[in-house]
Symmetry: C2
Subunit: 296 residues, 2 copies
């Protein structure tokens, strides 16, 4: 996709961006902006340790207090755990200035958008969720290409004003913008993200429970794939799941029903059709998402 | 590990090895032997198409009939689908000569070992299962390093004679030999291999069932991991599952119980401990298997 020259970008544009929560996502977003030509200031609102790491990896130039960001930033990017985003919004919302756009990278959207609707007064708010990540955390493993080719969901509400420049930056960093309603987003990721996480955790827990010396010796590469998500930090997931319970329950119930069906078909020697459906779906999944053009 | 010189290897050693089923595993085994210094003849018993591909990738020099292999091979390596291994054993077993070792690479062992016990007369038999593979099939994607650092289960029975030279070759190709009883093997892989396969298939089938346009657009790298196994060829898995039903049922039931527990804990906001157990187990899985020394 065409990348504008830095001159064009900065004319009339964002000059100061504050990253609240300088972890993997926040620091990767900052590095991605730099790589795409952003020449303004990037500052962090985070713990002293994260600020230090963020400076070291070149994501931000310094730490600032939330109040300074509220008064001076053109864009505030909330890349904290969900419950911290909610707390930040309650403090930031009432004081952020009119020309500021607040956006977030939280994995569930309904609670966050409701909180923003309640607290954000003069500033603009646009909910977001980059479908990118690693099992690692922290700015140490930040990657300027983390968002390239990945879906980036935005959940604009009626109150969101002009978000064109932010969307242009998302295009420039290679993200594929998809617009959804907050609840629609949460219902979809319950199936495509939260369910896979729970299945991986349940698999690892099932094997951990099985007292058999050979379990952790005799396995192939498939088990490594299937337990990668189980490595994820529990703290992060607790707040994701807590803010999406109805949809996660629906996904878990649908899955449990499919597993029971599979077990019946195993015993009737009638599994082949389910395997075919699953294999076709998985192949399509690998073709579709990373090919389409980006959209705004 | 020390690699003997080809001279030492061939003194008194295997001179002709026949690979029955020149697919991913069979052709990779042949390439691995060559890479480790095997200088004897490698021939294939397979379909004309597989023989052609096997010759093209340098795994075998020619195709032979099963009867010729039975009369002349020092080692016959059965790397076919399970039910084909069973059929081959019923024909090969009665005619293979005394100095021949028959071994197999089937994913379940009880049925195959029972079949060998019934049909193999003069030759030796040693059941095996290399815990290696890819979602692809066929000699086209064969890889001489497929077995390096991977567990390779052997299920010796009382009747197996001198299998020392074959075991030495397994060491030379870098496999980690683990001895188990056939049923013990099948119970373990029900949890570490067959269960992950079914979970991945059930996940892909659940998502395919959900009629929602965003499902195949809005997802992160985790879903790609969790649906990789679902790409596997149905035909291969039907015979694996058919020959390990009791153990697979046990694994599926244990998993379903864990998933129900997880769902309860989700609603009680009490998931953190299960996440910790799962994360610890998954980390250990990544440390253990590929570090230990090989053993015979």
């Amino acid at each position: 996709m065409p990348v504008r020259s830095a001159g064009q970008v900065e004319a009339g544009g964002m000059k100061r961006i504050a990253i609240a929560g300088v972890g993997l996502i926040g620091a990767s977003f900052a590095l991605a902006l730099r790589q795409a030509g952003f020449r303004g200031e990037l500052v962090g609102i985070s713990s002293p340790r994260s600020i230090e790491t963020g400076i070291k990896v070149g994501a931000i130039s310094r730490g600032v207090a939330l109040e300074e960001a509220a008064a001076t930033a053109d864009l505030i990017y909330l890349s904290q755990p969900i419950e911290a985003i909610v707390r930040t919004l309650s403090v930031l919302g009432p004081i952020a200035r009119k020309d500021c756009l607040i956006t977030d990278a939280g994995s569930t959207k309904t609670t966050i958008v409701e909180t923003a609707n309640r607290y954000v007064r003069m500033a603009q708010f646009l909910g977001g969720h980059p479908m990118a990540g690693k099992e690692s955390r922290g700015a140490e493993t930040a990657d300027p290409d983390l968002f390239a080719g990945r879906p980036y969901v935005l959940t604009p509400t009626a109150s969101a004003g002009d978000t064109g420049e932010f969307r242009q930056w998302l295009e420039r960093i290679g993200a594929r913008v998809i617009e959804m309603k907050p609840r629609e987003h949460d219902e979809t990721v319950a199936f495509t993200s939260h369910l896979p996480q729970l299945l991986s955790t349940a698999l690892a827990a099932t094997l951990a429970n099985k007292e058999d010396g050979h379990i952790s010796e005799v396995f192939g590469p498939g088990l490594i794939d299937m337990t990668r998500l189980a490595l994820s930090a529990p703290e992060v997931w607790m707040s994701v799941l807590r803010t999406n319970r109805p949809a996660v329950n629906e996904a878990l119930s649908a899955y449990a029903a499919m597993l029971a069906e599979l077990q019946n078909k195993l015993n009737d020697d009638n599994l082949e059709q389910v395997f075919s459906v699953a294999s076709t779906f998985s192949r399509q999944l690998r073709k579709k998402p990373f090919t389409g053009s980006t959209s705004g």
